[in-house]
Amino acid sequence: MAKPAVLTHPESLKRPAGPSEYAKDPVNASMTKAEKIALYTKMARIRHFEQRCIRIYQQGKIGGFLHLYVGQEAVAAGTISLLGKNDHIITGYRDHGHGLMVGMGMNECMAELTGRVTGCSQGKGGSMHYFAPDKNYWGGHGIVGGQAPLGTGLAYAVKYMGLKGSCLAYMGDGAVNQGAVHEAYNLASLWDLPMIFVVENNGYSMGTSQERSTAHPGCLAKRAEGYNMAWDVINGHDVYEVRAKTALALKRAHEESKPTVLEIFTYRYFGHSMADPDKTYRDKEEIKEYRDKKDPVLAFEQELLREKVLTPELSLKINEEAMAEADKAAVFADESPDPTVADITKHIYWEEDNRGPDTTSRGTIIFE
């Protein structure tokens, strides 16, 4: 049995769950009551959406891969809650939480999972390939690490256009070993791009614990030093801490146009995907310990109860509403139609979808 990766991590151990040291950080202290409740509500919605997905998968209505975000909610919630109109995000295949955080609806998200034409990608992308460019969300990418250069390109474009913005590219602890990630690190630093690489370190890449996959100088974020980049480590169960430290990286991006690597310690409660029986590479105890001590949604609920921002009644109402919303989304996904055979060959080329006097290419482009 591999030794438990997350719980023994020195950075993670330093801060057991409890009142957040970061409640008084300006980005958190300045939040209104309504903003705090809204943030908690979003975290609860992610949790309930994902748990609803499990049932739908078990009913056989979702096929392929389903990578759940349960346990990691504070990462997407904390980081994305800080973003403004010129800040963009991009992530891997564990992408539902980010989608809900940027404001995608549960209906379109659920319908995508069941392959319906009402899904966010019209049933063409699936669980791993959510996109909402109107909300600065550039996916949803199935190939490990591929989003890192893309995100760096988004940051480049933001800078090129003279905007005060940034891009956050999320990836896992296993993804840091893809060549594309290293090339992106170098480019972001060399060209002073407003980029934040967010390593969501949940301790495992599939069945491989972090120490079996990665040589590193103490933590994954520290690799940034090799590229002359700033870095930080964050306890990902504490949404306040996520916000406080991400805010500094955002400031660096916005004001100095410099990149940062943030490593956020987190944990996934379910298997790598629903196809992973999760029986061989970690102890159930390890999962339970994290759940009991550091559950990010519960931790924030406790925090807000202590602050008297939430009451138990309000919290219950928020959770019940989120569950009801997920139930409704499941019905919506069930009742929505499939794409058609004719739809298969749509959306391949911009030009084919937008034929008009200005489109110039000729010749056969879709073959029989």
Binding site: A2, G64, G115, T208, Y281, I344, T345
Partner: protein, 325 residues
């Protein structure tokens, strides 16, 4: 003869070759402790230990390149790609290095590496995970490509690939992993470049590879039962080298050809086969060659539509009837 699954056949091939040659090393993501993402390598770590069965980080360009380098010094790496779709991040190693080093060294070096893993659509995992790169890879001289459709061929081709002194890329299919078939107990190989007539017939030749063979065999059955047509199904098994003579012999007998593959149509394997038939057996043909391939689009996620995007039995039957008309 034992009846075993396609997955077990692949595993047996690796076990036997690991035993036969201590230079054989299995490497890939999750192949050792996790027993393989698709359990093809299950039990091998226990039997052969961590020197022979090696888990890698998610660094395809790195570990595939490393395998190619090691093969130059005589190691015989059998690298697992969790999906052939992930070969694209290692394309330079796979094509430029493994495929060219022998040529560029004037024959001084060879790369006896095997890269294997699933390359198929039909599993509802979307465009990034559903590539079938056999035609792309086989278009590079220096590279060999095989696509087994049955447990017997899976074992025999993989063993031949491991003993081969050139880079051999083995494309499997996750949908076939549980298919069962007879496999001899004694040592055997299926030589690369030998097609197999999986069904004998007289009226129409279907040429296919990989899972399209299984689809074609089902279609052939329907064509016989419902339309009284006798169909011969030629399973290429190996894309490069290609068994041209078996294809031609079949066409000379039936005088009609239908080419079926799960690739997208543009420059698929069938393009090469169609060229071969028209160049060497044009006068034998009583009808134009037809083909059935995947609908020309990135792989759609929606399972119901993906099943239609891929060649299915109905489409093969319909197209066969057109060739026969």
């Amino acid at each position: 003869m034992a009846v075993i699954s396609y997955r077990e056949a692949l595993r047996a091939a690796m076990r036997e070759e690991l035993k036969r040659d201590d230079k054989v090393v299995i490497m890939g993501e999750e192949v050792a402790q996790f027993n393989g993402a698709y359990k093809v390598t299950e039990g091998l770590l226990k039997e052969f230990g961590p020197k022979r069965i090696v888990d890698t980080p998610i660094s395809e360009a790195g570990f595939i390149g490393l395998g190619i380098g090691a093969s130059m010094l005589g190691i015989r790496p059998v690298m697992e790609l969790m999906f052939w779709s992930f070969s694209y991040v290692a394309f330079d190693q796979i094509v430029n290095n493994a495929g060219n080093i022998r040529y560029m060294s004037g024959g001084l070096i060879n790369c006896p590496i095997v890269i294997r893993g699933p390359a198929n659509g039909g599993t509802n995992v979307g465009a990034t995970h559903s590539h079938t790169p056999e035609a792309i890879l086989a278009s590079h001289p220096g590279i060999k490509v095989v696509c087994p459709a049955t447990p017997y061929d899976a074992k025999g081709l993989l063993k031949a690939a491991i003993r081969d002194n050139d880079p051999v890329y083995v494309m499997e299919n996750t949908i076939l992993y549980n298919d069962k078939g007879e496999v001899p107990d004694e040592d055997y190989i299926v030589p690369l470049g030998v097609a197999d007539v999986k069904r004998v017939g007289t009226d129409l030749t279907i040429v296919a590879h990989g899972r399209a063979v299984i689809t074609s065999l089902k279609a052939a059955e329907i064509l016989e039962q419902e339309h009284g047509v006798s169909v011969e199904v030629v399973d290429l098994r190996s894309i490069r080298p290609l068994d041209e003579e078996t294809i031609l012999a079949s066409v000379r007998k039936t005088h009609r050809a239908l080419l079926v593959e799960e690739n997208k149509p543009f420059c698929g394997v069938d393009a090469q086969v169609a060229y071969l038939i028209q160049s060497r057996a044009f006068d034998e043909l009583d009808a134009p060659i037809h083909r059935v391939s995947s609908i020309d689009a990135p792989q759609i996620y929606c399972k119901r539509m993906e099943d239609q995007q891929l060649p299915d039995v109905n489409r093969v039957v319909r197209e066969a009837l057109k060739v026969l008309a």
